[in-house]
Subunit: 173 residues, 2 copies
Amino acid sequence: MQFKEKTICKNYVYKGKILSLRKDDVILPNGQPAIREMVEHSGGSAIYCEVDGKILLVKQYRYPYEKEIWEIPAGKLNIGESPEQTAIRELEEEGGIVAERVEKMFDVYPTPAYTNEVIRIYRAVGLTKSKQRLDDDEFLHSQWIDKEQVVKMIYDGEINDSKTIIAVLSSMK
Amino acid sequence: MQFKEKTICKNYVYKGKILSLRKDDVILPNGQPAIREMVEHSGGSAIYCEVDGKILLVKQYRYPYEKEIWEIPAGKLNIGESPEQTAIRELEEEGGIVAERVEKMFDVYPTPAYTNEVIRIYRAVGLTKSKQRLDDDEFLHSQWIDKEQVVKMIYDGEINDSKTIIAVLSSMK
C-alpha cells in the first residue's frame, strides 16, 4: 500500500531570497483535509575535500544558531548553474582550491518534514591550489584538519552539521 | 578572530504550528546591515533501533518531496516533553517498540543556513514489543531491515534522510 497526500492549493505565505514558505491545503490518505507548512528551497551543493589524511573544513557564523560552526564547503545553487559547478565554485571561493572534477557521494534530504531542499554532496578530485574569494557578506575561516581529529570532533559533538557528518563518516571505510 | 552577526530586530513573517519564519535585520561582521531569513523550529528527536543485525525503519509520505521516504522513527517535541521522552514515544507510536532507555548519539544541525532546528539522535536500549499507535494524520509503514541492506540502500541513493544516514553510518564501527 502506498500513501499519498494530494495538493488542493499551494498557498505562498512568503516568497524570499533564499527560501519561500507555503501553507498548502491538502487531502490526507484517509480523505480528510489538512494543512501542510513547508519551505521551498532551490537546493545546495557541498564538497568533501580530503588530501593526505586531512579534510578541508570551514568555520562559519550561522545566524540561526547564533554561533560559528564547522562545515565542509557548501552553498546554494546560483541561477543557471549545475550542482557540480556550484560545488566546484564553493570549494574555490571558500577553500581556495580548484577541483578538476567532482564525484557524487549523496543526495541528502536534511529535514524532510518541512523543507524540499536537496543537498548534493560531492567528493573533490584533481586538486590545485588557488585563492579564497569570498562573497561580500560571507565571513569564514577555512582549515585543513586531520581526519582522525575531525572524526573525534563529530563524536565529541563539536561538529553538528548533517552534510559534514555524512561526508566524513562515509569516507571511513 | 571570531565572526558574529548582531540582531537589530527580529521580524516574524509567519508564526505557524510546526515552524515560524523570521526575516531579521542584522549587522554583519563588517558593520554593514543585512537581512537574514530563518526558520524557527522547536526541535525533534530521532531514535536508532538495532536488534540482531536488523534496523527499524519507517516509510512515510513526506509532503515536501511528494513521495514516501525511509527514515528512522522521529518526531517533534511535544510541549512539556524532554527530547528523550519524545524519542521513546515516537519509537512506540511508529514502531510498536518500548525502549527502557535511550543513549544520546548526536545533536544534528540539518541545514544550518536557514533553520535553528536541532535533531537529537538517540540509540534505543532495553527493548520490548508493544503496539504501533499512530496519530490521526500519520500514515506510515514500519519495517525491520537487515543492516547490510540498509547500508546498501544508503549508498544506492534509496535512503536520503540525513538523520537516518548519520545514525546508520556511525553504527558501522
